[in-house]
Amino acid sequence: MTAVAAPVPAARPAAPAARRAADRWAGTGALVRVALRVERVRLPVWLVAVAGLTAASAASQADLFPTAESRAARAELMRSPAATALGGPGYGLDDYTIGAMVANELGAWVALALAVLSVLLVVRHLRGAEESGLLEVVRSTPVGRDAPVLAAVLVVTLADLAIGLALAAALVGTGLPAAGALAFGLGCGLVGLTFGATAAVAAQLVTHARTASMLGLAAIGVGFALRAAGDVRAPESGSALSWLSPFGWSQATRAWVDERWWPLALPVLASAAAFGLAALLAERRDLGDGLLPERPGRAHASPRLTGIAAVTLRRLGGALAGWAVAVAAVCGLVGVLAREVVQFLEDEPALAAFFPEGAASAADAALSRYLLVAVALAAAAGVQGVAAARAEEAAGRAAHVLAGPVGRARWLGAQLAVVLGAVAAMVLLGGLVMGVTAASTLGDPALVGRLLGAALAQVPALWAVTGAAVLVLGVAPRAFGLAWAYLGYVALSAMLGGVLPEGSDVASPLRYTPGMPAEPMDWPAVLVLAALAAALVTGGVLAFRRRDLLA
């Protein structure tokens, strides 16, 4: 040790107030750059997916409804409460242009996608970074107290505006007028921003990223429900309830009908207020803490927490229930709408000519079509469940459990049993809900059994999609993105079936299931799919037994 101690640098003299205020934001620019780098794949994927899918749907609507008469008929269908609840208040129904159709029928869903994106993005960069300890390291560098919140604001604003503008550009590309496209794109982007700001507040309230995301997603659900209820009360204008929802603000721009711009000020003001509140809350709490208390849990496991299946159910139960609610909601709405489909066809003899067996068969066609949407949702739940098993492995929990007397087949098999059982139950629930609602709206009790049967016939295809993910997990766990990509392909082929080129769905199992109740049961196809599903799952489990663990 040297005799002379190194001089300790004197603490900076008290800075003037203005400088101290500026210090609170110090380092924001660097944080924004880091965040954009972290998101460099995810954000462009969202951008391309949202803009591309919306433009593709707009183009397909233009193909499906080429004449003013066909669009007017469509507008009549959209006047029903169920359609209003699903879409929007119905601006421009009297002169239902393609633009008005896009805004009315797609707007709420595009905005919903941006809202989900924004909630997940903000929570990841605020509470997620705080929970993992990243924010602690960042804050120990010369980065101001408010910089993380401000950086999250800037990143989500950039993301929402970029996607909104890309959306507008893509829609102009399909031939829609530019002013409406801009109102539509900005409106959707600002809905996203508003919910992102709400999530920033949620991230201050609770200690865990998961809980914060759930709060943010619940806020989206409430916003959507407010708009739906409000629009149903006052079709073609929206009631006071609609004005409480950010979704209502975006639709109030009346894109492609007669644009008005001032409603866009509402989400801007609301976002600014929410972000301000989040910054205030962030100052009033310790790093790592929430404002709501954490409850103690059980000291001993309940007798039901007996094994892998039980802990899987515990871990995934919430997510699986969420998917089940989504499936039931879609199926229920379709069932409620069934009557409108029949009504529409009875009023439009020209269209009914396409359905030789009459309006009832058209209803069946619509029901089998929407059942595919439910199957796609359940397949997403299935892939998510397999991804959760992979996450268990990557986190090292699999190694911990497998170091006990638990075989690999049992470890993976128990989780798969939960996931496969849950997705099958989901589709059956969807069939039941669709059956009951359609039976009551159409006055045909036989539909309950027929739709349950139709749902049951979809289970092998659903398991095959999930089985493909199991195979990826077993053979190439580091390339699990393949499983998601395949799911995306299957879901897109199912949802845009009529729009995509003929034969592009050749690799989707859903193509080969009979479109019941419109088509008859096809036993060979269903049995082959069941065998395929069994082979995929078994192959995945066998490969998993033979390979090294990830961690």
Binding site: H300, A301, V311, G396, A403, P405, L549
Partner: protein
Amino acid sequence: MTDSDSAAVEARGLVKAFGRRRALDGLDLSVRAGEVHGFLGPNGAGKSTTIRVLLGMLRADAGEARVLGADPWRDAVALHHHLAYVPGEVDLWPNLTGGEAIDLLGRLRGGLDPRRRADLVERFELDPTVRVRAYSKGNRQKVALVAALAADVPLLVLDEPTSGLDPLMEAEFQRCIREAAAAGRTVLLSSHILAEVEALCERVTIIRAGRAVRSGTLDELRGLTRTAVVVSLRDADGALAALRSAAGVHDPARVDGHVRLDVDADALDDVLALLPRFGVRGVTAHPPTLEDLFLREYGEAVGSPR
């Protein structure tokens, strides 16, 4: 499953490559039944990879491993009835409490003794009602330790089990391991904390770059190296001159009026016999610490007693 005189763990020539990197490169390891065996090596030397091969999580590219007489890859489940494991990085189900995680891990092996569980929870001062995601690293480590120590098994495999524990808990851990050893259980302890290994282990294996470089009892390893001696002498200069020409003496030097030197183990007798004629006033000698051994294996400068 194992006869008492055979090795609890026996690995010969283990090789494991990840891509082009060879994590294990012909590793040998032998742990006798009933001993506490220290497993040492710097970060990246292959300790965790070895343990994961011994647990059947990874399949070795070459070589042979037997744990309690069983093939760890083929007979994993049967073998795991008889061992308990504490990973270096403990990640448990975030939405379960510590108590639930302990019970679940216990139930997966067919239940654990509730008295032992309660005793360990108390000894490690663990609050079992807290959710795992809210635990600190040390507390997550305690959850894994309680779950492993409460299992009635003949072999404990511990991969840096005390990283993150405070000194009081570290002492408690050492008591637990001594109790386990007294009860005849075998312990394979991978650790960075050399004082812990010195306090607990009868035999150690030091590995480097995927290969065992030293293995034996601590005394045997110490015998292979030098003893540090500090002498206070009337005629320090004369002593230094004599020591410089003596065999088995390294780096004799004058430090603060004393003479200090390192002596090879087999030269100790001759060197000490040489000193009395220079008027010895005081002498301290200490055998090499494990840290000296460890640093020497890794080519660091060894020689100055601390």
